[in-house]
């Protein structure tokens, strides 16, 4: 019996709302857009932060990365045409200190960058050419897709071999497998022995010759032997000599809990031994924590926007319902005269509010689920719809209907039947 009463009330509510289709539709818009924007924004935000976190995670959350940075030129550059030699950056000495004296450090990997072009037949690329040790793969979590990575034999034998990243191999060898082919780095020939997967699957697939994640790895010893510390960098017509011992040192910490401690130790050590600030320290874990903090703030902001928009939607519903109650005063009087109790009137109007807000909520969920797809397609952004978002948005929008329906329904129910019947 109770069940059919509710069904009848809902049916009556819907037919009352259908009496004013446009008004009902407009009333639901507030909740509709509130709900859909929450879901869409949440999906886009979640996607963006997931992507950022993915990138950071790939740097290695147990790693501390030290990089050489060209110091700011605070001295006057006289003339301009003379060839300057800039000496800066991390040194072998730094590497040794970290490896030998720092507690809690598992592995230390040096990287030298070689400023040379890479060619294969008529194709030319400007990748990041890195001379490094075989452990680099482990420490940074590179995945070999074909062939092998650098080995200790390569290192000992100062072999002219190289490993290409996916991006680099795809550009230089669009069709055939690169394994066994000889490519030219600067003036020397290297045999390709393997390829790695790209670290971050980004939207950089667009650009063919993009430098973005094109990487070429050669043995550290080979790099030292053939290119030395002094390198020429061509820059906007002028030539610049640079002397950099190591471009990057990746420090892997044994226990993730010690990452911060090791990072601080590195910072202290570098501060003591470098006269100028020609280095930077990147701590992926810190970045990760910062990214999480950013996400938390983003969620708070989003939550506020969502509550405001749902509040506005709710007020819209309340406004229309108050007008409806006034408009239907006579109907309320009739129903009361025919025996309707106060709770019947309350539920009648409350049900209409809930139908409005639930209807708006459902449409909003549909729109909110569709928007990220469109965004993903056109803006090429990653979006993630967590299952809780639409459920939560829907529940809240229904709650809004109840909350903002209470007052109009109460107004309707407490009318004096005699007065209501007299109302024209």
């Amino acid at each position: 019996m109770k069940h059919s009463t509710l069904a009848r009330t809902v049916k009556l509510g819907i037919s009352s709302l259908l009496l004013h289709k446009l008004r009902s539709l407009l009333t639901t818009l507030g909740v509709l857009f509130g709900t859909s924007s929450v879901i869409a924004m949440l999906a886009i935000g979640e996607g963006a932060s997931e992507e950022a976190q993915e990138q950071i995670r790939q740097l290695g959350s147990r790693n501390v990365i030290l990089r050489s940075v060209k110091p700011r030129e605070d001295f006057a550059t006289g003339g301009g045409q003379s060839v300057r030699v800039l000496s800066y950056g991390l040194t072998e000495e730094d590497l040794g200190r970290i490896a030998e004296t720092f507690p809690g450090v598992a592995r230390v990997v040096p990287v030298r960058e070689i400023y040379e072009e890479v060619r294969f037949s008529d194709r030319m690329l400007n990748p990041r050419v890195m001379a490094t040790l075989p452990v680099y793969r482990d420490v940074t979590g590179r995945v070999v897709s074909e062939g092998r990575f650098l080995t200790d034999q390569d290192e000992v034998g100062v072999a002219n071999v190289c490993v290409l990243s996916y991006e680099a191999s795809r550009y230089l060898f669009p069709v055939a497998s690169p394994i066994g082919e000889e490519i030219k780095i600067g003036a020397d020939y290297y045999t390709v022995v393997g390829t790695t997967l790209d670290r971050v699957r980004q939207q950089s697939d667009l650009a063919g010759a993009g430098k973005s994640s094109a990487e070429v790895f050669i043995p550290l010893e080979t790099g030292r032997k053939w290119y030395g510390n002094m390198q020429v960098k061509l820059r906007a017509g002028s030539r610049e000599m640079e002397e950099v011992e190591l471009h990057e040192i990746v420090v892997e910490v044994e226990d993730p809990a010690n990452v911060e401690f090791v990072a601080n130790a590195c910072r202290e050590m570098l501060k003591r031994n470098h006269k100028q600030s020609d280095y930077e320290i990147v701590v992926p874990l810190e970045l990760l924590m910062r990214a999480e903090e950013t996400k938390r703030i983003f969620n708070i902001v989003l939550g506020s926007i969502a509550s405001i928009s749902l509040l506005v939607g709710g007020i819209g519903i309340m406004n229309v319902m108050l007008a409806t109650v006034t408009e239907r005063t006579r109907e309320i009087g009739i129903r009361r005269a025919l025996g309707a109790k106060r709770h019947h009137i309350v539920s009648q109007f409350l049900v209409e509010c809930v139908v409005l807000s639930v209807g708006g909520g459902l449409l909003g969920v549909a729109l909110g689920l569709a928007t990220p797809l469109v965004v993903e397609h056109y803006a090429e952004m990653r979006t993630i719809i967590t299952p809780t978002a639409p459920i939560l948005a829907f529940l809240i929008s229904s709650g809004v209907g109840v909350l903002f329906g209470i007052y109009p329904a109460w107004r309707a129910a407490t009318m004096d039947p005699v007065e209501a019947l007299r109302h024209e």
């Binding site: 019996m1 025919l338 025996g339 106060r342 039947p417 019947l421």
Partner: protein
């Protein structure tokens, strides 16, 4: 009459109803006592402001006396709360209004059934009853029409069917023919006559003399008091002061 042995349908005992109109206190019913017997057909007449509408509202349990007691079918209403009064309306009373007052979004059948919706324990045969009543008032073929699709006379017939669906002890009609042309009004009055013949108790408020004269008895009000009581032809003529 054998009615004396039975419980009266509606019994007003010293009912006073006062309104506040701005600064003034208006006494719409003044120490009003009267009994409507079972199966009687009364017309309540009087000029506007005589208290006839207030009397109808009190009889219909939509208004409460300021003092005094009102018993419906033997049940005292003085101590009932709002819900209990509502339940009483949905079980014991039937309303027919001047402007029909059907609910626009419901069809004929649903409109007839409205009083049953609000009963705490609605009967299972509600729809069957409503169909029979629709047939009784000649609207069996229009069950799924909306009020807007019906003429005034048809709407009033639906309203009468609605007033009967809960098998009320008392049918109250407020200027039930006031919005109808004279031919249709006569049809409706014929319907009331039939209901009376079936043994219904009817109280009809009107200010039209010819409508009042159709009733079995006429109760005239003035200033919230009984002015005169005229017994119809079928009962002994006389006054009850």
């Amino acid at each position: 009459m054998s009615e004396a042995a039975r419980v009266p349908v509606a019994e007003l005992i010293g009912v006073t109803r006062e309104y506040r109109m701005g600064q003034n206190l208006v006494r719409a019913l003044d120490d009003f006592s009267f009994t409507f017997g079972r199966g009687e057909y009364w017309a309540v007449m009087g000029s506007s402001g005589s208290g006839k509408s207030t009397l109808l509202n009190v009889l219909g349990c939509v208004d409460r006396p300021t003092s005094g007691d009102y018993k419906v079918d033997g049940v005292s209403t003085a101590r009932l709360d709002d819900d209990e009064l509502s339940e009483l309306r949905s079980r014991k009373l039937g309303f027919v209004f001047q402007s029909y007052n059907l609910i626009p979004q419901l069809n004929v059948l649903e409109n007839i059934m409205v009083p049953l919706f609000y009963q705490d324990d609605p009967p299972d045969d509600g729809e069957e009853r409503a169909r029979k009543l629709a047939e009784r008032v000649g609207l069996a073929r229009r069950l799924d029409h909306r009020p807007a699709e019906l003429s005034g006379g048809q709407q009033q017939r639906v309203a009468i069917a609605r007033a009967l669906v809960n098998q009320p002890a008392l049918v109250l009609a407020d200027e039930a023919t006031g919005n109808l042309d004279s031919a249709t009004a006569l049809e409706i009055l014929d319907l009331f006559d039939e209901l009376h013949a079936e043994g219904r108790t009817i109280v009809l408020v009107t200010h039209e003399l010819d409508v009042g004269e159709r009733a079995q008895h006429v109760l005239r009000l003035k200033d919230g008091r009984i002015e005169s009581v005229a017994r119809g032809q079928r009962s002994a003529a006389g006054a009850r002061a």
